[in-house]
């Protein structure tokens, strides 16, 4: 029987009895070197739909109640116990280091979006019928200037956010976003520092003013700090 893995935890952290995963199947622990991997039976890899993704996440969140797990990316189906355990044991040093990094910590996400602007809502015309070469080049230059301004703004916001939360964020991942998004950041925060971290992000949002919208999500299992 195949297995769908959810997360890797230090040995000794068993799933709660009655915990169900995908397809309502019970989640059971498999020993893999110094770790346990929480998994449930699945004849085939599950479809990547929202219900399955939510069910996967719910099991990882249950693990967060007991320890800080390494979440497994959705889609890591194995044909059987032996194959799954071997995949983990083969990487035991790397996984032990990752578990040490996330121990006692949780992840938050910050997403910075452009404030609503009428011109931002209108999609760019795909291929405008330019009257001549000069019009085309002018339009090209305009678009490049907009892109340069966006990159400068993204860098500035990233740096300001970093300075705002660095006291509480042990690690950080930054991703630029396409419009109307600007930047998405993930922060690894000590358990117990949640409220101080949130206050720091609120202060950042207040400081950047009405030009941007700032959303915080979390706490999350440390998905962004495990690879």
């Amino acid at each position: 029987m195949g297995l769908h893995p959810y997360c890797i935890v230090p040995a000794g952290h068993e799933p709660p009895s009655g915990l169900a995963g995908l397809f309502g199947k019970p989640v059971r622990p498999l020993g893999a070197g110094p770790f346990l991997v929480w998994a449930s039976e699945a004849e085939t890899p599950p479809r990547q739909d929202l219900d399955s993704i939510s069910a996967h996440h719910a099991v990882v969140v249950a693990a967060m109640d007991r320890t800080t797990p390494l979440p497994v990316r959705f889609g890591g189906w194995s044909a059987g116990d032996g194959e799954l355990v071997a995949r983990i044991v083969d990487r035991r040093d790397e996984l032990a280091e990752a578990l040490e990094t996330v121990r006692g910590r949780i992840e938050f996400g910050v997403r910075i979006l452009e404030a609503d602007r009428p011109e931002a809502a209108a999609p760019e015309p795909p291929e405008a019928p330019y009257r001549d070469g000069r019009t085309y080049l002018r339009e090209l230059a305009r678009r490049q200037a907009v892109q340069r301004e966006r990159r400068v703004l993204q860098d500035e916001l990233t740096e300001r956010l970093h300075r705002s939360v660095e006291r509480f964020a042990h690690d950080e991942r930054v991703r630029p976003l396409e419009a109307p998004g600007l930047v998405a950041c993930a922060h690894l925060v000590h358990r117990g520092d949640e409220e101080r971290y949130r206050s720091a992000v609120r202060a950042f949002a207040h400081a950047v003013g009405a030009g941007c919208r700032v959303h915080v999500t979390g706490p999350w299992p440390p998905y962004s700090f495990t690879s």
Binding site: P5, I8, P45, R47, Q48, D49, L50, I53, S54, H56, H57, L70, P71, V72, R73, F74, G75, G76, W77, S78, E83, L84, R87, I88, L95, A98, G109, R111, P123, E124, P126, L177, E178, A179, P180, G181, A184, R213, H215, T217, W220, P221, Y223, S224, T226, S227
Partner: protein, 78 residues
Amino acid sequence: MAERTSLAEHDELTLVELVNRVADRGVVLGGELTISVADIDLLHVNLRLLLCSVDRLQRLELGNGTAAASSSVREGGA
């Protein structure tokens, strides 16, 4: 009203963050992922359409006359 809109947007973004994390991050333990979700950020305006099923996007892209539908989804978020 503005607050309700903001809450709805926050719920949508939480879903985007969820899907990005679960399907695109975490320890990779083999297996085959059927679709890249890297474009989900482009899609948050049309999130409800997409997140009915990521698989549905694949079908949209593969079906007849769907290039326009797929493109409009992407540009809707761009």
